[in-house]
């Protein structure tokens, strides 16, 4: 296999995700899904591989929604996706035809897209989903919508929180009215951030509570090692027998970092052994250009948690980064007190608990079985210790 960090992978090169994909198909039998993870964890690769599956009586459609600037555009895209798949004219299709202002839209390969009036977006979306349900051609329709939170954020910014809320409500209604239609929504920013922004605009409906939220984890250790081995072999990097395992380990089994580490070994013409692998990671940490863009995890903190919580969030992460073992809330409070960070003790406990939960939702921390918390990814923890000079 060739190194390809960030590029398009051939489906067979999406290593170590088969079990997760089986799990996702199983979950889709029950309900629609939200996939969460930091950028470059492999969400898009997974849903694109799923969208390429050949399943009987099933329509699969992948879309990157980051490009959509308005609700009308969304309606147009959806129409473009389903129109070729619709069968004979149904009542709903006739309704769609009436909604089209004129057949003067974009001329695509086999048909001309209609021009929907901006005000009719809701009716168009309803009609499209209705048409799909009525067509009788498919027992299951799955829309893989990538970067969904960015779409909602864009609609909120351009058309207002109310319009964004209406879209969420409509999609929720579709999920209830048409059980054959499922969605897999992914996003590199957490859906909770989008909802927070909508709540500030007065929207409070439970728009995601019928969806199963599944986090895309790093690869399993054996699969990460398998990927590293395949890349070392594919790029003919001379290596020690344990090199693939070491790469997987210090990349925290995250495929993107595994690609980058092997890439570094290739460009420096290194023999891959423990020393050169660690050197490769260190060079990414020390490079002033920050090629892994890890500074982002510090820089986004005021934006995510507010300036008032910045010092506390940084202090919390410093504490977790400084300890090898997971910490309970009591341990953290003690350390915060020693550092002199935060509010009076009476207020502190709830504030810290809430912030810890948010940090976990944003993939900084994870809970351990005994209710304590620790850094989610070793690579981030190592960088945090390095960049914050924690020794």
């Amino acid at each position: 296999m060739k190194i390809n960090p960030g590029g398009e992978l051939a489906p067979q090169d999406v290593v170590g995700r088969d079990e997760l994909i089986v799990q996702l198909w199983r979950a889709l039998e029950r309900q629609s899904l939200v996939l969460t993870a930091e950028r470059r964890m492999g969400k898009t690769r997974i849903i694109k591989k799923m969208a390429l599956a050949t399943l009987p009586d099933t329509l699969l459609r992948y879309r990157d929604l980051e490009q959509v600037g308005s609700l009308t555009e969304l309606a147009n895209l959806l129409y473009e996706d389903v129109a070729p798949a619709l069968g004979e004219w149904t009542k709903a299709q006739m309704q769609l035809g009436r909604l089209a202002s004129a057949l003067g839209g974009a001329k695509l390969d086999k048909f001309t897209l209609p021009n929907f009036a901006p005000a009719s977006w809701k009716a168009v979306l309803r009609a499209i989903f209705q048409a799909l349900a009525e067509s009788g051609k498919y027992q299951r329709v799955v829309f893989f919508w990538d970067e969904f939170p960015w779409l909602i954020e864009k609609i909120r910014a351009v058309e207002g929180a109310r319009a964004a809320g209406e879209l969420l409500d409509l999609l929720r209604a579709v999920r209830h009215e048409h059980p054959a239609i499922r969605f897999v929504l992914t996003g590199s920013i957490g859906h909770h951030h989008v909802l927070t922004a909508l709540r500030a605009g007065g929207y409070n409906n439970p728009s995601f509570n019928d969806l199963a939220v599944i986090e895309v984890p790093p690869l399993s250790e054996p699969k990460a090692t398998e990927l590293a081995q395949a890349l070392l072999d594919g790029e003919a990097v001379p290596h020690d027998p344990q090199a693939a395992g070491e790469i997987a380990k210090i990349a925290s089994n995250i495929p993107f970092f595994i690609h980058l580490l092997v890439d570094r070994l290739v460009t420096t013409k290194s023999h891959a052994d423990t020393a050169t692998i660690h050197q490769a990671r260190l060079s990414a940490f020390t490079n002033s250009q920050d090629p892994w863009n890890l500074r982002h995890f510090v820089e986004r903190i005021p934006q995510y948690y507010g300036a008032a919580n910045q010092a506390l969030a940084l202090g919390l992460l410093d504490i977790f980064a400084s300890h090898e073992k997971p910490l309970g809330l009591g341990d953290v409070l003690d350390e915060l007190a020693q550092l002199g960070i935060g509010a009076p003790a009476t207020l502190q406990r709830e504030r810290v608990r809430e912030l810890q939960e948010k940090l976990a939702a944003d993939h900084y921390l994870e809970a351990t079985p005994d209710g304590k918390r620790q850094f989610r990814h070793g690579v981030l923890k190592a960088w945090w210790r390095f960049s914050r000079e924690l020794g």
Binding site: K2, I3, N4, P5, G6, G7, E8, L9, A10, P11, D13, R39, R40, T44, K48, Y62, R63, D64, L65, E66, Q67, G69, E73, N76, E80, G105, A106, K107, L108, D109, L113, D146, W150, F256, D263, V266, T267, S288, Q289, D290, P291, N293, H296, R300, G391
Partner: protein, 759 residues
């Protein structure tokens, strides 16, 4: 891949070598001029091949300053794809070249891609595509985007698109965030495109996690050329132009010395090498002056616009670096810009990381800064001399030509007036002193840089080139110097062979006084790392004693100081003492002699004598010349200070003499080392002497230099060990723990066997 035959131009027409537009050059020429990046091109080609033969799609981004060779690589990749029968018919290539200005939306980008596809297609397809593109202009933008995407899909007909893009940073800036999102969506949804692009800097639109296209590109930072790369490039260019004589010249010592001077001018930028190499090969300088002026003039607005974006302090620092050809340490840059070191350091950091206008290199512990784009410096240099444009070329000619070449040129019949004026002025304004020649200076600088990083082979090459550039000045001590150098590292066969070759050459040619100095520096460098050859060194004392006097006084003093120091370090106190006394009698580097004597006395517990010698060492060191201070070497001075600190500690006067010494050496390179050694020594002997004076001394050191914290932490750990206190709060790394344990295990240690910690 089928590479068209390269026609060496012996006797034929010279090959077209375009300095600014490599895309105009034929495939064979580009292959011939590919230097130092063969593996990179092969890797890019493999990525493209993988994108064509599988459903994987690679995106590569080449980052580098203007003139670093980005377009060359992209053009070469284009030719290689087209020349590979297994690839060419299985893909479509769209090449967006440098001159693709005005992309301000995703639709613009799609139309440019379509035009590029039309340009590379068959004539019938070409016409149809152009007509379809024309219709897009009459379509509302949203629909036009969809139609353009459909048109591209139709044109590709299931084949992958290889998109070659120059100035991707500009294209992304034009696209804006919405356009970038649309591009990402298109790449993800269609999965038909593989991009190989170039940019001058790593830009936020791909490097920030919040940007739509974050992490989509495999980034390759193009490095500057080394001197050897430059030599290869110029030799190949000369051969392509049928100038075998010019190519051969670059293999001579004089040729290499000239190249070293050119390297300082070009800063590793291949385009600048090519621009100025024309000076070396053209018959007429007059023919070159105007084109080079025009070239630099055309670039000036670009760099002026960059300067306007800077703060006044940043502009000042950039000007300072432009004025100074070469690398400057922060301290000197701050002085020349009239700002504090802190301000200079912060602003240079911003200029490097955010603006990418300067770059830095660490030499030893110091960071040296220079302008990242040599073309920028040259543009401003021309501008500076706008009232007297010839001034710029005089500087260039002084850098590149030898005096005898210019004198010979004056003899040519019917010399054009401009050229006559130029050569006459260059001759008039050029010093007769061989070591003042820019080529000799470049060799000495190369030597010094190589010496600092321990590249002794390069040291010797630089010396050889220096001898060739500066002429033949006999010096009887060369033979002995080289013989000594040869003995220092008998195991290094490559070095020995190099030394022998140079030795033979120098004996044949004679030598120069400065050569002796650099050779001693070389030998000293060895002496600090390898003391195994002491017997041989001492035997050579006889050789040195027989040196003719006077004339080599400074030289023999440096040698004696070095050999005395080496004896001291290996425990031969008696020999060291004899040499030091000889030095005092002959008034050779008395500061070093006193230092050596103070160490000898301290090791014999003659503390009063030791203190007196050190005071004398400090006093004479301050009186000595800068050159002699250099030869005293930081390590030597540090060691002397450490010894005295130790002595003072034993005299229960921790805040006395060491503090004085440290203040004396404040600002010198020895200072931090002195602090380190002093503290470690104090800490290590704390148990026998009591921890209180050691801690007091350490605190004193910290007051002088807070940056000393790291070594201080280690010292504290040693103290904790010796006093039984907990070490855990110090959170030592594994490496630090091992060091501390080694130090503790070695205690008590005689001062003369102290190993210097790396700071």
């Amino acid at each position: 891949m089928t590479v068209p035959p390269l026609t060496p131009n012996a006797g034929g027409a010279p090959a077209l070598l375009s300095t600014f537009t490599p895309s105009l050059m034929p495939h064979a020429t580009l292959e011939a001029l590919l230097v130092g990046r063969e593996e990179l091109v092969t890797r890019l080609q493999a990525h493209v091949a993988n994108s064509i033969t599988s459903s994987a799609r690679h995106n590569d981004l080449l980052i580098g300053t203007r003139g670093i060779g980005k377009t060359h690589l992209l053009t070469l990749l284009f030719h290689r794809i087209r020349a590979t029968p297994e690839l060419r018919p299985r893909c479509r290539i769209a090449w967006l070249k440098e001159e693709e200005w005005g992309i301000s939306s995703f639709l613009d980008l799609l139309i440019r891609i379509l035009k590029a596809l039309a340009h590379g297609g068959a004539s019938q397809e070409h016409a149809l595509l152009l007509e379809a593109i024309n219709q897009l202009y009459d379509t509302p933008p949203k629909s036009a985007v969809r139609e353009a995407k459909a048109l591209i899909k139709q044109t590709l007909n299931q084949q992958p698109l290889i998109l070659l893009c120059e100035n991707l940073d500009d294209i992304f800036a034009g696209l804006g965030v919405d356009g970038q999102k649309a591009l990402r969506a298109w790449l993800q949804e269609e999965a038909c495109t593989s991009i190989c692009a170039t940019a001058t800097t790593l830009f936020a639109a791909i490097s920030l996690r919040t940007s739509p296209c974050f992490g989509m590109f495999r980034v390759e930072l193009l490095q500057e050329f080394s001197i050897e790369d430059a030599r290869q490039l110029l030799m190949r260019a000369a051969r392509l132009q049928g100038r075998a004589d010019a190519a051969d010249f670059l293999e001579t010592g004089r040729g290499r010395a000239r190249l070293r001077a050119l390297h300082l001018l070009a800063g590793g930028n291949p385009r600048v090498y090519m621009i100025f190499s024309q000076f070396m090969t053209r018959e007429s300088l007059e023919d070159l002056v105007q084109p080079i002026f025009k070239t630099l003039d055309d670039l000036t607005p670009y760099y002026q616009a960059k300067m306007k974006e800077l703060s006044p302090q940043q502009r000042k620092l950039v000007e300072v670096l432009c004025d100074y050809r070469g690398r400057l340490p922060v301290k000197q840059a701050a002085r020349l810009a009239h700002v504090t070191q802190q301000v200079a350091s912060a602003q240079l950091g911003k200029l490097q990381n955010a603006r990418h206008l300067v770059r830095s290199q660490k030499v030893g512990r110091e960071s040296y800064y220079e302008i990242a784009e040599p073309l920028m410096r040259l543009c401003f240099e021309v501008k500076k001399h706008s009232e007297e444009p010839l001034r710029f070329f005089i500087g260039i000619a002084q850098t590149l030509y030898y005096r005898d070449e210019l004198e010979a040129a004056l003899e040519r019949p019917a010399l054009p007036p401009l050229e006559l004026a130029l050569i006459s002025r260059v001759l008039r304004e050029t010093s007769n002193e061989p070591l003042q020649d820019p080529k000799a200076i470049a060799c000495l600088q190369a030597f010094e840089q190589a010496r600092v990083v321990g590249d002794f082979i390069e040291c010797l090459r630089a010396i050889e080139d220096l001898v060739a550039a500066a002429g033949q000045l006999p010096n009887p001590v060369l033979e002995a110097t080289l013989r000594l150098a040869l003995r220092l590292d008998g195991d290094d066969k490559a070095l020995e062979s190099e030394l022998k070759a140079i030795f033979a050459k120098l004996v044949a040619d004679g030598g120069i006084d400065s050569l002796v100095r650099v050779l001693i520096a070389l030998a000293m460098q060895y002496s600090f790392s390898q003391f195994a050859q002491m017997a041989a060194l001492n035997a050579d004392l006889e050789v040195w004693a027989a040196l003719p006097e006077p004339g080599h006084r400074a030289f023999s003093g440096h040698f004696l100081s070095w050999i005395a120091h080496a004896n001291l370090r290996t425990g031969n106190d008696e020999t060291a003492q004899k040499i030091a006394l000889h030095m005092l009698r002959a008034d050779e580097l008395p500061c070093v002699a006193h230092g050596v004597l103070s160490v000898v006395a301290a090791s014999r517990s003659q503390l009063l004598t030791a203190s007196q010698h050190l005071k004398d060492a400090v006093a004479t060191w301050q009186e000595s010349t800068e050159a002699d201070q250099f030869w005293s070497s930081p390590e030597m001075v540090t060691w002397v200070i450490a010894t005295l600190a130790f002595t003072a500690l034993r005299e229960n006067s921790p805040d006395g003499l060491p503090g004085t010494c440290l203040r004396v050496f404040a600002g010198s390179a020895a200072r931090t080392l002195a602090l380190a050694v002093t503290t470690i020594e104090m800490a290590r002997n704390a148990q026998s002497l009591g921890t209180a004076p050691a801690i007091a001394a350490w605190n004193h050191c910290l007051q002088i230099d807070p940056q000393f914290a790291k070594v201080g932490r280690l010292a504290a750990a040693v103290l904790a060990h010796t006093t039984g206190a907990a070490v855990e709060p110090l959170a030592l790394s594994q490496e630090e723990r091992a060091l501390v344990e080694a130090v503790v295990a070695a205690r008590p240690m005689p001062v003369r066997t102290t190993k210097f910690p790396k700071c």
